[in-house]
């Protein structure tokens, strides 16, 4: 082989090989069995991260000087549902949070009742799955108190958050879920204030979830109802959340 043909041969081999590999990866990405296999990596992260970090390990809290000048809002920033628009027009005076499902004491709370619950203020870093981070000060009701008051059935394992917004091309209702460990974590809040002001609509007014040890998509905005369940198989796509139904991991600790 002359140098030239050898070079051309190598180039073709590299380009062809590379293309075949990438086409192969794309082909595999479409296969359910392969996606389920890859997802085992995320399950492993879930198990290992829980094993090496204490249940009550706290997310770092920052100082007021660290607060981001503007807190970026992702996903829905202005829900268009009629019921929500009416609530917003009225300053959320008619808003009611429903807590139900597998609980002994179903509840309906207005904002005053939620503000009367034991609260917490924390300056934390919000990490979006896209890669950016923002720091904000959140004030909200401790979810643990609310859960205790509702008295979940011993078999209950998850809290499902039903939201007022519909999102994406499918215009499906946003929802999310967390487990009891996160529900009882001291930093898990139903937040109604951001940076000392009432929560803006773009960031989830009147109430949004804060689960500080997970990524942003877990932190449902516009929370209307909390359903305590044993399994979320029967809800929407069955994966436990709007983004989970679209391929994202249920455990968003990384």
């Amino acid at each position: 082989m002359t140098d030239n043909t050898r070079r051309r041969f190598l180039k073709t081999l590299l380009a062809g090989g590379g293309l075949a590999t990438l086409t192969g990866c794309d082909y595999l990405s479409e296969k359910t069995w392969f996606r389920d296999t890859l997802a085992q990596g995320e399950t492993l992260s879930d198990v290992v991260q829980h094993a090496v970090t204490p249940r009550k390990a706290m997310a770092r809290e920052y100082t007021p000087a660290d607060i981001s000048p503007s807190f970026r809002a992702n996903g829905t920033t202005d829900p268009d549902a009629v019921e929500y628009r009416m609530l917003a027009a009225n300053g959320f005076r008619d808003y009611r949070l429903k807590v139900g499902g597998m609980v002994e004491n179903p509840m309906t709370l207005d904002l005053a009742a939620i503000r009367a619950l034991p609260s917490r203020t924390q300056i934390t870093r919000h990490d979006c799955v896209e890669g950016w981070s923002a720091i904000g000060q959140w004030t909200g009701a401790r979810l643990s108190t609310l859960v205790e008051q509702a008295r979940p059935h011993p078999d209950a394992r998850y809290l499902v958050f039903h939201c007022a917004d519909r999102y994406g091309r499918s215009h499906s209702p946003y929802y999310e879920s967390i487990d009891m460990e996160d529900a009882h974590h001291p930093q898990t809040l139903l937040a109604y204030e951001l940076n000392g002001e009432p929560l803006p609509i773009a960031n989830g007014a009147p109430l949004r979830l804060r689960v500080e040890r997970q990524l942003g998509y877990k932190m449902a905005k516009y929370v209307m109802a909390i359903e305590v369940v044993e399994s979320f198989d029967h809800i929407a796509g069955g994966k436990g959340g709007f983004w989970e139904d679209r391929g994202y991991a249920w455990y968003a600790g990384i």
Partner: protein, 284 residues
């Protein structure tokens, strides 16, 4: 004078060969799925949070009705039009679309963050498991010791640099042993870049940060960790490029065969230098 004889030595033991190829596969997939993840927010910052006004690196696109898509890459205020490759590149239908890295550099090819993350974390685990098994084996088999430069190696440092620059490679038995630059490169990559990329990867996890806070602090915050992760990936690409170049200029067929079958061929040139008179160490 005796004629040079062609000798075959068993150079790469099985754990090295398996470790090598699994590692190569992981790096390939991690890099390309990483670029898919990068595309979801193609801006890098220093510090804990993102200062959206001041990314140090940005691979963005512009769209106008008249001109369609154009790609712009900005590094520390320095800007370039990178249409075609970075910022805007042809999509499936051949038309320009706005995306930081082109589809032929991402896994999957289309914009699909969820799947990119699945690929990334699955192969991150394979990489970590592979690296751990390899390091345990290397420690007990004495392989790591072969990577530590000897005093003699250090004395030959200048010569080795010159030889590499002139593309002159050790021949004879010396070719079956690691040279000083090789040793330094492997050690830097395994313990420097490798450690850095795994740690910065873990530091981007909000759950791990509850226990890794001091490490995160050391990197300068989560956005710094993301930047360093990206730069370390660039460092690995540079290493792989030089590595492949050296393989090609030092006899690709022989090198490739030795990393597949373990057997390396070299010409035994008797008594040309003192190195060959020493006992042959098949530790390549």
């Amino acid at each position: 004078m005796a004629r040079a004889r062609l000798r075959t030595v068993y150079r790469h033991p099985l754990p090295v060969r398996i470790g090598h190829w699994v590692n190569a596969l992981c790096l390939f997939i991690l890099l390309l799925s990483g670029l898919q993840i990068f595309n979801a927010h193609p801006h890098l910052y220093w510090g804990s949070a993102s200062n959206f006004e001041a990314p140090w690196l940005s691979i963005d696109y512009h769209w106008s009705r008249d001109d369609g898509y154009s790609g712009r890459t900005q590094v520390y205020g320095w800007q370039a039009d990178t249409t075609g490759v970075l910022g805007a590149s042809p999509g499936r239908n051949g038309e320009l679309e706005g995306r930081a890295f082109p589809s032929w550099l991402t896994i999957p090819g289309s914009r699909w963050l969820a799947m990119g993350r699945s690929w990334h974390f699955f192969f991150a685990w394979i990489l970590v498991i592979n690296a751990s098994l390899f390091l345990i084996w290397a420690l007990f088999a004495g392989h790591l010791r072969r990577l530590i430069p000897t005093l003699e190696d250090w004395r030959g440092f200048g010569q080795s640099v010159l030889d590499h620059l002139r593309l002159r490679h050790p021949t004879g038995e010396a070719a079956t042993r690691y040279n000083i630059l090789q040793k330094l490169a492997y050690l830097t990559v395994i313990f420097g870049l490798g450690g850095l990329i795994v740690l910065t990867g873990l530091c981007m996890s909000p759950r791990m940060d509850t226990v890794l806070e001091p490490v995160l602090e050391f990197f300068g915050g989560r956005q710094s960790a993301r930047s360093i992760h990206f730069l370390a990936a660039g460092g690995l690409v540079l290493f792989v490029a030089i590595h492949l170049f050296e393989v090609i200029v030092s006899g690709p067929v022989n090198q490739l065969r030795s990393m597949i079958t373990g057997f390396f061929r070299y010409r035994d040139e008797p008594a040309t230098d003192s190195a060959t008179t020493r006992e042959t160490r098949h530790d390549g």
